[in-house]
């Protein structure tokens, strides 16, 4: 065993040409990777992390130029290699798992053929039998061997998680030394993400490969990385062993990033300061790039370039004031006062009573298949109800039903005591005004050909009879309420950042003074640091205007910050509902528990959902529990045939399960205690 690292990069600078000018994307960055090590890189989008690790594959964009640097793989410089040598290297010794499997897999090629192509392209010489054996081995390694007829399936016949496993299998095909993973779980929901991370961890021990893992999500890295590097504006600003970085971060940016995303283990009330501002590449000072956003900066930071200095073994930071930063942040954080609980008595603002929803599919006379079945929910004025569950569980469908876009198949929706017409057409204008929808993707929810001012003016024209001056005043006020100044009114959506666009979308909903917000995954299209701002904004609006919210999210960490009550959906069935504190504490519904365990960063795994290869329950459920097929504590045929009874806990939450509450309390014991500690 020699001590030389597998990969050794130093002083890498890469620029991109943009409108005739060269912009530096990576600035004098370096790292090293040893055998069987997982090195993670995190940072906001545009921080240059993908560009940096892309260099290990000799990635050369026609618009990019390598200004300096050296990247040694087993002593050979990758940056100087010609195309032929690179082809020998790529896929063979260093392999890539890209972000989006749906676009990376060839849609017209069967799974087996895609992997075989990788092997034959790299001179696999063993004949057909050996090829088939290798395929079977790869499927076994990646947990795909349980999927029926896997090799003959087309990508569209696989789930998102299976597609990503297939990409991993392709990367492993030639037994590479290093696998580069570029946001491999970003497009997946939390449960699937957890399974992919488990797989990668297992592969690390079985295949002894090294990994370079790029993501914007520090929580994901905490699950898998041995060492973590933080990038900002093209520079590596801090690099340290994972446990050190999470427990004792030194760079102000790392501290801000960790504060931006509430980790499951962190206290729920005492949120640390999220990051200020945005990364503006056009306004980088000559010195430390983070200086404009830094809470700890001194005047000299602006002009003094900060080099990465190793101050403790394995822990390097590019900040001249890191000792002072460490001293100041170790002070205990102030906890926020508990949320008011005087809402219990108030009459519900919105009530769903046995509502089923579905889409008409297939033929003209086909009966609509219910996506959501027999759901009863209530939201009080000023209260936030979070609707959680994995993708496909019917969360958005519920919001569509409430908004009137989708007429319920059964059940009733009542709004402040009076029944709400099932279809938009039959609803009163006032009801439409009271219930406002905010969508996931601000790019799609703002008309690109309309100025912000006009976008905000439209709802006013419909719902109010204001004169022009009042309208202008309201638009300014609405923009200010989402922390944008009035000059934004004259801009087009494409002149705004993603976070600003989502603010405008929220302002458009705010401007009509609604009583209820339907927030459909409003954060998932945004960058982590931007997410923190939007969460803060929603929290503020909720407190100052007493707006009730249906907050749809798959992100439990955010739900804990915002929600008063939580409802958990699984495949259209409500499995648990109650005050947030109760849902986050035992007794748990088995599905709720598996959701918590899937949150990256939570180490409390006492019970596992069956391995990922289990297909989603497409079996016909005869009125039974939809979770039965995946439930680790299934009782028996009873679960498949009989609807689970609602069981009320003492603290006002309801769990739908055939198990007694006492039994449920014990299965989630350990995990529950840890979540408890988090809240205390």
């Amino acid at each position: 065993m020699n001590d030389r690292p597998l990969l050794d990069a130093s002083d890498i600078t890469v620029s991109y040409r943009h409108e005739g000018r060269w912009l530096t994307a990576v600035r004098a960055a370096g790292f090293s990777l040893s055998a069987n090590e997982v090195l993670g890189f995190a940072g906001e989008s545009g921080s240059g992390k993908s560009t940096l690790v892309g260099q290990t594959l000799g990635y050369r964009h026609p618009n990019a130029r390598i200004d300096s640097g050296r990247l040694l793989f087993r002593g050979r410089d990758v940056l100087g290699m010609d195309e032929r040598d690179l082809r020998q290297l790529r896929g063979n010794r260093i392999a890539l798992v890209p972000q989006n499997p749906t676009t990376s897999l060839s849609p017209g090629m069967r799974a087996g053929a895609q992997i075989a192509e990788v092997l034959t392209a790299h001179d696999f010489d063993g004949g057909r039998v050996a090829l088939r054996d290798r395929l079977a081995e790869l499927f076994r390694l990646t947990g795909l061997d349980g999927v029926e007829g896997m090799a003959r399936r087309y990508p569209h016949q696989l789930s998102g998680g299976q597609q990503q496993r297939l990409m991993i299998a392709m990367a492993l095909a030639c037994r590479p030394d290093v696998v580069v993973l570029d946001e491999p779980t970003t497009g997946l929901d939390t449960t699937t993400q957890k399974q992919v991370l488990d797989l990668l961890r297992r592969l690390k021990t079985t295949t002894r490969m090294s990994m370079l893992y790029v993501t914007h999500d520090l929580a994901v890295l905490s699950e898998i990385a041995d060492r973590v590097g933080i990038m900002y504006a093209g520079q590596v600003v801090e690099i340290a062993p994972a446990d050190v970085l999470y427990s004792a971060p030194r760079h102000p940016y790392t501290i801000g990033l960790l504060g931006s995303r509430p980790l499951p283990g962190a206290p729920a009330g005492g949120r640390s300061e999220p990051l200020r501002g945005l990364l503006r590449r056009d306004q980088l000072p000559p010195g430390c790039p983070f200086q404009p956003r830094c809470a700890f900066s001194a005047p000299s930071c602006r002009d003094t370039p900060q080099a990465l200095v190793e101050f403790a073994p394995g822990h390097a930071v590019a900040c001249q004031r890191h000792e002072l930063v460490a001293a100041r942040t170790s002070a205990p954080r102030v906890a926020v006062a508990p949320k008011p609980t005087d809402r219990e008595a108030a009459a519900p603002l919105l009530e769903l009573d046995g509502v089923s929803l579905g889409y008409r599919g297939g033929g003209f006379l086909a009966r609509p298949r219910p996506v959501v079945r027999d759901i009863s929910l209530a939201i009080r004025a000023g209260e936030t109800l979070a609707l959680v569950g994995e993708s496909g569980s019917g969360k958005s469908t519920v919001a569509r039903g409430i908004s009137g876009l989708l007429s319920p198949l059964a059940g009733r929706i009542r709004y402040s005591g009076t029944p709400l017409a099932p279809l938009l057409r039959q609803r009163a204008l006032a009801a439409c005004r009271d219930i406002q929808y905010v969508f996931q993707n601000p790019d799609a929810s703002l008309n690109p050909r309309m100025r912000v001012g006009r976008i905000l003016e439209q709802p006013l024209e419909v719902f109010f009879r204001d004169d022009a001056a009042t309208r202008r005043r309201k638009i300014t006020a609405a923009l200010e309420s989402v922390q944008l100044d009035s000059t934004y009114a004259s801009r087009y959506p494409d002149q705004l950042s993603g976070g600003e666009r989502q603010r405008v979308a929220i302002a458009r909903a705010m401007i009509v003074e609604p009583a209820l917000f339907l927030c459909d995954e409003v954060l998932s299209a945004l960058d982590v640091s931007v997410q923190a701002h939007i969460v803060e904004l929603l929290d503020q609006l909720k407190r100052s205007r007493r707006i009730a919210m249906l907050f749809i999210s798959h992100d439990l960490a955010v739900v804990r910050v915002l929600a008063d009550r939580v409802a958990v959906l699984f495949h259209g069935m409500l499995v648990e509902e109650g005050p947030a504190a109760e849902v986050f504490a035992p007794p748990y519904h088995p599905y709720t528990l598996s959701l918590f365990n899937a949150v990256p960063g939570s180490k409390a795994v006492t019970l596992r959902a069956p391995p990922a290869t289990t297909p989603p329950p497409e079996v016909e459920i005869d009125g039974g529990c939809t979770f039965a097929a995946r439930c680790p504590v299934r009782i028996g045929p009873l679960c498949n045939t009989k609807a689970p009874p609602p069981r009320r806990t003492l603290n006002g939450s309801t769990i739908h399960c055939h198990h007694e509450l006492g039994a449920l309390a014990t299965i989630g014991g350990t995990a529950g205690q840890i979540m408890e500690q988090g809240r205390a």
């Binding site: 908004s403 009137g404 876009l405 938009l424 609803r427 204008l429 439409c432 406002q436 929808y437 969508f439 993707n441 799609a444 929810s445 703002l446 008309n447 690109p448 050909r449 309309m450 439209q458 709802p459 419909v462 719902f463 087009y492 494409d494 458009r508």
Partner: protein, 283 residues
């Protein structure tokens, strides 16, 4: 200054096409005032005289100056082509956006009618319409405009409908629906501006074919009435002399070809320009 720079940053095909079109528009507007001869005047020179300095394109059977007639013909051809394409665009865009936005049974019916219209070869449709319109309208430029509009309507409508379906699925349209805005308000404010790029290119393509169609109708004797100078008509009436005096056909043919080339260059450049701005997001 900014306009000047923006102009030079457009694709070359767009600039050349625009220049050619500009020349033809100028011909249509002021051609008759600056011409060396009155296009209708008989005996400006000897009949069937070849090209010379005094008669650039020579003279026809009646001694009329072919150059003057070819330039004067731009008035009818350019105007009729643009109006016809514009008519087809406006009517087609309206029907297509409406149909694609409301969907359901009305959309189905409109689409079947549309397909029926498209399935008739356009020349036959044109001749049929002109026959039905009767002798009173036939020969008037407005009749040709009408025919062009009806030929282009279903083709534009189809394009507009598919654009509308794509845009109507976006969230900002859903938001407008949730405001209970009237369908026509939504179509006008949310759909039309976003379909404008596609429709503009569609218009340019149609306008590029229009002169050929006008010429064809004229050639077949279903266009404008004989004394009016029109390219297709001029080619038609001189086709017997093609061997003896090719210049009588070449003159109008050259004009027609040049105009169509100009329009096509313009369209290609425009498509690239619109595509580019859609990608970079510049309005």
């Amino acid at each position: 200054m900014r306009w000047w720079r923006a102009w030079w940053s457009t694709p070359a095909t767009f600039r050349i096409g625009t220049a050619i079109i500009a020349v033809f528009v100028a011909m249509a507007a002021i051609g008759t005032y600056v011409l060396p001869y009155d296009p209708a005047q008989i005996g400006t020179g000897k009949p069937l005289e070849g090209p010379s300095l005094s008669h650039l394109f020579g003279t026809d059977q009646l001694g009329r100056d072919v150059f003057s007639r070819s330039v004067a013909a731009a008035r009818v051809d350019v105007l009729v082509s643009f109006l016809g394409a514009a008519g087809g665009l406006v009517a087609g865009a309206f029907l297509g956006l409406f149909s694609g936005f409301i969907r359901g049974p009305i959309d189905e019916i409109l689409q079947r009618l549309n397909e029926a219209l498209i399935s008739i070869p356009f020349l036959i449709l044109g001749l049929l319409l002109l026959t039905v319109l009767g002798p009173y309208f036939r020969g008037e430029p407005i009749a040709v405009v009408f025919v062009l509009t009806l030929i282009y309507l279903p083709r534009v409508a189809r394009m507009a409908r598919s654009a509308a379906i794509e845009i109507a699925a976006r969230d900002f349209v859903t938001i407008a629906r949730l405001r209970k805005q009237r369908p026509f308000t939504i179509i006008w404010r949310e759909l039309a501006p976003n379909a404008a790029g596609v429709l503009l290119v569609e218009f340019a393509i149609r306008a590029g074919y229009a002169p050929i169609l006008v010429g064809t109708l004229g050639f077949l004797g279903f266009g404008v009435k004989p004394p009016t100078p029109e390219w297709g008509l001029m080619i038609s009436s001189n086709r017997n002399l093609m061997v003896v005096a090719p210049h009588t056909v070449l003159g109008p043919g050259l004009m027609l070809t040049l105009f169509v080339i100009g329009l096509n260059l313009f369209t290609e450049g425009l498509a690239r320009l619109v595509g580019r701005s859609a990608r970079t997001g510049a309005a």
